[in-house]
């Protein structure tokens, strides 16, 4: 069964994503291409996941995963700021007052990611571009997108999955 957009937003997974996704997204978005920090983070999240009882984990896997990842991201940033204190106290003070994600450097990185994404989008086959734009940019549900594109709902789902995977690979290569 394919969910409508409104359904997916109200689902358990959607809630977990909303609660934890922001901090994580800002951290990871800049690292979609360069994997070293993401690798370290994943290694740490993995180690902690293994310690969670399976029964608990299966009850709500996505929110557990995102919860752990959010903690790890926070610790990672604190460590980073600590390193900066040792290095340059003035800069460190600025950083502490200004949340990391508002710092000019990361704004630039965010914009850079968007530009890279738009560039990568153009390299996808037309059908993949079409489906991504309908669903992600224009916010259509899968069945609305299916009607608009003259494709089946299953094909829409399939193309979303494929397009996202291709973008991931393209971003990693253009870094």
């Amino acid at each position: 069964m394919i969910p409508e957009r409104s359904e997916s937003a109200s689902s358990l997974a959607g809630a977990a994503y909303r609660d934890h996704g922001d901090a994580l997204q800002r951290f990871l978005a800049r690292r979609v291409g360069s994997a070293q920090d993401a690798d370290d983070l994943a290694q740490e999240v993995f180690a902690r996941l293994l310690r969670v009882r399976d029964a608990d984990l299966v009850r709500n896997p996505l929110s557990y995963l995102l919860g752990i990842a959010t903690h790890v991201v926070r610790e990672f940033r604190q460590r980073r700021q600590h390193e900066r204190v040792l290095f340059d106290s003035d800069l460190a003070d600025d950083r502490c007052e200004q949340p990391d994600e508002l710092a000019p450097a990361s704004m630039a990185e965010q914009i850079e990611l968007k530009q890279r994404l738009d560039k990568a989008l153009k390299k996808l086959p037309a059908a993949h571009q079409l489906v991504l734009l309908l669903v992600k940019r224009d916010g259509l549900s899968y069945s609305e997108a299916a009607a608009a594109a003259g494709l089946s709902v299953h094909t829409i789902e399939k193309y979303v999955v494929e397009a996202r995977a291709r973008l991931r690979v393209l971003l990693a290569e253009t870094r």
Partner: protein, 352 residues
């Protein structure tokens, strides 16, 4: 990136992207499979997190609306390859499974990646797991290798032999029957030869333990192995010395082979104990705390330490979860003679 590594990247990206979709509409069965997939490898955790992040960034794709939907639709309509009204979701699911199988098979062929296949040197391929990680590999001959935490093997499949060198840790081998190509597993201590069977080899600091689940193997201490017996094929160990008769090992028997070449065989009462590690269960029957802690620490990034003399000689029995030190510490807490100190980075157990 070389083409094979890129192909592998694409397969993993596709898998992670598929999970993002599945978890949007997940039922209880999906949750279980998702958790199992995550727990396979830190790489899956990374790929999933990155994919979620990418998915979110896609909300702002083409924010200036420069790309026209109409022209894309026209382009898709004009293309003879555009799949209209595609395959049903069932086929989609099956496709995932095939993709996953293809990814597993590719692991054997591709370089790079997270590190299961570290590199190929000549005909030898090397596989490894990180602390806490467990991995399964199917070899080209149909044999399956289950690699436990923090382990490393080097494998070569040749025309007349199948050679495996267990460099560290533990592996369970499910050997596909091939009488023409004996399956040889060697450590510094022992060489195990099988034709078609199931057995576990655990390379420890002081000895190598070989346990047979099914069929029969022969075990020869490495110190007495004749160089013509195939061992010279291993890159980092020349064969030495005179020959000793191979020791035959039947199902539910276990041999310990020491560095010095002594072999002791015992009956295993519970064969399932041998493979309990695949469910991340640790089973101890009247074993010393030193042995128990050593087993736990194979799975832990920060080891449990024994803080005073004599504490390691105490004997316990129990079944534990390899990822849950609390399951052990609860048992130890009941022992009035012991004190568990969790104040520091690592857990320390000492006598009161």
């Amino acid at each position: 990136m070389d083409p094979k590594a890129r192909q592998l990247e694409a397969l993993y990206a596709q898998q992670a992207s598929g999970w993002v979709e599945t978890m949007r509409q997940a039922g209880p069965g999906d949750d279980r499979r998702f958790v199992a997939w995550l727990k396979e490898s830190p790489r899956n955790v990374r790929d999933f997190l990155l994919m979620l992040s990418l998915d979110r960034a896609l909300g702002e794709i083409d924010a200036r609306r420069l790309v026209s939907i109409e022209s894309l639709i026209a382009e898709v309509d004009a293309s003879p390859f555009a799949a209209r009204h595609g395959a049903p979701a069932r086929a989609g699911r099956r496709r995932w499974r095939r993709l996953a199988a293809a990814a597993a098979a590719l692991l054997l062929a591709a370089g790079g990646g997270w590190g299961w296949l570290l590199h190929s040197r000549g005909d030898w391929q090397e596989f490894a797991t990180a602390t806490g990680e467990q991995r399964t590999f199917e070899l080209e001959d149909g044999s399956v290798v289950y690699l436990n935490t923090h382990s490393r093997v080097r494998i070569r499949l040749a025309a007349h032999s199948r050679d495996v060198r267990l460099l560290s840790g533990e592996a369970l081998f499910h050997v596909h029957h091939d009488a023409a190509r004996p399956f040889l597993v060697s450590t510094d201590d022992a060489v195990v030869q099988a034709v078609g069977t199931q057995f576990d080899v655990y390379r420890r600091d002081d000895d190598t333990v070989v346990s047979v689940l099914e069929g029969r193997v022969s075990v020869t201490p490495a110190t007495s192995r004749n160089p013509s017996g195939g061992l010279e094929a291993h890159p980092d160990r020349p064969g030495t010395g005179s020959t000793a008769a191979p020791r035959r090992l039947d199902a539910s028997e276990e041999a310990r082979v020491s560095h010095a070449g002594s072999v002791s065989v015992r009956e295993v009462n519970n064969v399932s104990d041998i493979v309990a590690w695949r469910e991340r269960r640790l089973i101890f029957r009247d074993q010393t705390l030193e042995q128990i802690v050593a087993e736990f620490n194979r799975y832990r990034a920060t080891p449990i330490r024994l803080g005073s003399a004599g504490v390691g000689e105490r004997v316990y029995t129990g079944v534990f979860d390899a990822d849950d030190a609390d399951s052990l510490l609860q048992v130890l807490a009941r022992d009035a003679a012991l004190e568990v100190d969790r104040s520091g980075e690592s857990i320390i157990v000492r006598l009161r």
